[in-house]
Symmetry: C2
Subunit: 243 residues, 2 copies
């Protein structure tokens, strides 16, 4: 990891100007001139589903954006217990600490689907950050959004029933994934498998499976296979999701 041969520089065809997440990521804070500074630093990295980008305890420390795919932030115990403490989607930001050397990572980052990252080496990115307060402003907004979401998830993990957890999870997936592609369809693919869902919402995979079956039998969700959701009854899901 992060050793040996350098990552490829961004090719002309993959410049920031034409980037899929040019405006939705933190880069949206930057004007044409400013983005040039980042463009010069950017390196692309691809990971296959299941591969690990960073391990808990590492101090790798680059910054970057997710340009395609879904990643999970995972904390694990030696005895096999896992908790997914966050999901990263297209245009989400990656990186720990702000100043100085990178701190030890509190969680691993693993590719859930095939993944594409746009990475900036630590020190040069810190310099860019110091030059452009609008970039830091954008990072702060993102951090506050993630904090609000983490607290929402604390409510789920601390107080919700299995039924409420799965309903809340489905609403969350629908909100994040329906809008990524086309706005009108209500269908989407759940990128996580049953075990990952369980580790995200603090249950076992068996309980997740049973609750999914219940949603199907109650006509609230129409599945096509275990991962593709044809349609959801949003109102009834909200009822089931609890507070």
């Amino acid at each position: 990891m992060h050793s040996g041969n350098p990552l490829p520089r961004l090719s002309a065809s993959a410049r920031c100007e034409g980037c899929a997440i040019r405006h939705s990521s933190v880069c949206g804070a930057l004007s044409g001139d400013e983005i040039a500074a980042l463009n010069a630093l950017a390196r692309r990295k691809r990971l296959a589903a299941g591969e690990t980008y960073l391990m808990e305890g590492d101090t790798a420390g680059d910054f970057g954006n997710i340009t395609r795919g879904v990643a999970k932030l995972v904390r694990g115990a030696e005895d096999g217990r896992l908790q997914i403490v966050g999901l990263l989607f297209q245009s989400d930001f990656v990186g720990s600490g702000l100043e100085g050397d990178a701190p030890e990572e509190a969680s691993s980052i693993e590719a859930v689907t095939d993944l594409e990252l746009c990475l900036f080496p630590r020190k040069p990115f810190q310099d860019v950050l110091a030059r452009f307060p609008s970039l830091e402003h954008r990072l702060l907004k993102r951090a506050l959004d993630e904090l609000r979401f983490a607290r929402e998830w604390m409510v789920l993990l601390g107080r919700k029933t299995a039924e409420e957890r799965v309903a809340t999870f489905m609403l969350h997936m629908a909100r994040r994934l329906q809008t990524e592609g086309c706005h009108h369809r209500e269908s989407f693919d759940i990128p996580l498998n049953r075990a990952e869902i369980a580790d995200y919402i603090g249950l076992t995979l068996e309980t997740v499976s049973r609750q999914m079956t219940k949603l199907r039998k109650d006509g609230i969700v129409v599945f096509e296979g275990a991962h593709h959701v044809q349609s959801i009854d949003h109102a009834r899901l909200v009822e089931r999701a609890g507070f």
Copy 2:
């Protein structure tokens, strides 16, 4: 709330220069000249233990610091279930959203102990924030710290046993409260009652009580009354706290 008679301006004897949290709060980012801008805005507010500063759903929207005491961020369901999603200690920052009007609060803020706040009206503070990037930088560092902590707590809520939760909670209290006063003593007062601890770590008050009793009987914690901790066996607590 936030109606009628204005809060008192900061008196000369309570200026920022002599403030207990002048350097530990976000204000630590500001030079003498810069702090003057904030000093002109500051209003003090006191709450007795148990009083509510903000209700879930409010859009009050001032910013501020906790100058003394402990507050809890609480989310509640109609059926009585509660989850404390964060504790605020001396020098912690309060306020939602950055730009424009205040968003609806996701959680209530309630005084756990007698509480003293140093508040800045929303709009003027936003102006100060726009003028001094170092203040925003400090806010970002704080937000990232809180995010890291929230994710740590997600692990507790999602995967830890009752025994591990109470041990982790005690370590957290020791860390936050021992250093506030004198460094050498290992004793401290738990500001939360059993029900609040339960709502913080996702258990019932009975289970919390039983686990506290177990810590006492196993000689890991010496209590004097239900709230005062005389000493803790740090190493054995860490063992019990799990991952």
